[in-house]
Amino acid sequence: MSTLIDLRIAAVGDIHLGEDVRGQYRKKLEGIEDRADIFLLAGDLTRHGTLDEGKVVADELRGLTIPVVAVLGNHDYHSDLQYEIAAELRDAGVVVLDDDGAVVQCGEHKLGVVGGKGFGGGFAGKCASEFGEREIKNFVAHTRYIAEAWKVALKEIVADHRVVVSHYSPIKETLEGEPPEIYPFLGSYLLAEAVDTAGADLIVHGHAHKGSEKGMTPGGIRVRNVALPVLRRAYGIYCMGESEHF
């Protein structure tokens, strides 16, 4: 067993904040610095993707003493202000990933975090393919582009541990509870395939409010759906030990 201290990762998605709940989520974050070494946000931080909502989110996250890394979700894109929202968050000290990666020093651990919004398309055997109308090809190509970017970012990162943060799901196990008819809009196996190829220790995602917390990629990487309505708690905490010395 490792004698070194575990790396503790706090994660949540789909907090969907707005002006009417300003200050409420921040209260739930009290003490997070003692419980976790890093805080990951898996998108859908706003309801309609307005700049005002983005500012509420930024204010709730401002000034935490542990690193905060976020990706945006489909709701945060709704008003076409995703870059402005990301800028507000960065201004509040949040690292916002957009299909790229960052290495964050968490105590004595170097954690590589890679990710972005992700996208849909469905799961092996029951998915859209790049065929037919331009609209369908564009849909699938968007997911492929994202998966490729994550794979490259994961391969480039040098760290003790690697975690992927996505909004959309890479697997269908964590969608259980959602109607199967909408799975293709909730995630894509291409995301899991990319991460399995490059390697990571954990994937966290949101988006599927009625899904299930726990699952695993075909390659055996742990997946956690951290959508707030799934967790029913302010955030989940996932611990991992030292990767090499046992």
Partner: protein
């Protein structure tokens, strides 16, 4: 008369697309002249807005707003991945 399935689909679309709500996970069922809303939201205001938007989308139906407001708790137990 419009089939209830199409009315339900139209209401669901309204809940998702209306600027006041943008709520995607609400179930809409219609039985006769009664409309049922089910699902979970994080605040009472959002629940009321959903009821209002549903009413406007199908004013001829009586809306039963059975949406649950769920508060979330403090973080629970840590999970050790090993």
């Amino acid at each position: 008369m419009e089939a209830p399935q199409y009315v339900a689909a139209r209401v669901q679309q309204a809940l998702a697309e209306d600027g006041r709500t943008h709520e995607l996970g609400i179930r809409v069922d219609i039985r006769g002249d009664q409309l049922f809303l089910r699902g979970q939201v994080s605040g009472a205001e959002q629940r009321e807005r959903l009821g209002q938007v549903a009413h406007e989308a199908a004013p001829e139906l009586r809306v039963h707003n059975e949406i649950k407001v769920v508060d979330f708790s403090e973080p629970g137990e840590d999970e050790h991945l090993d």
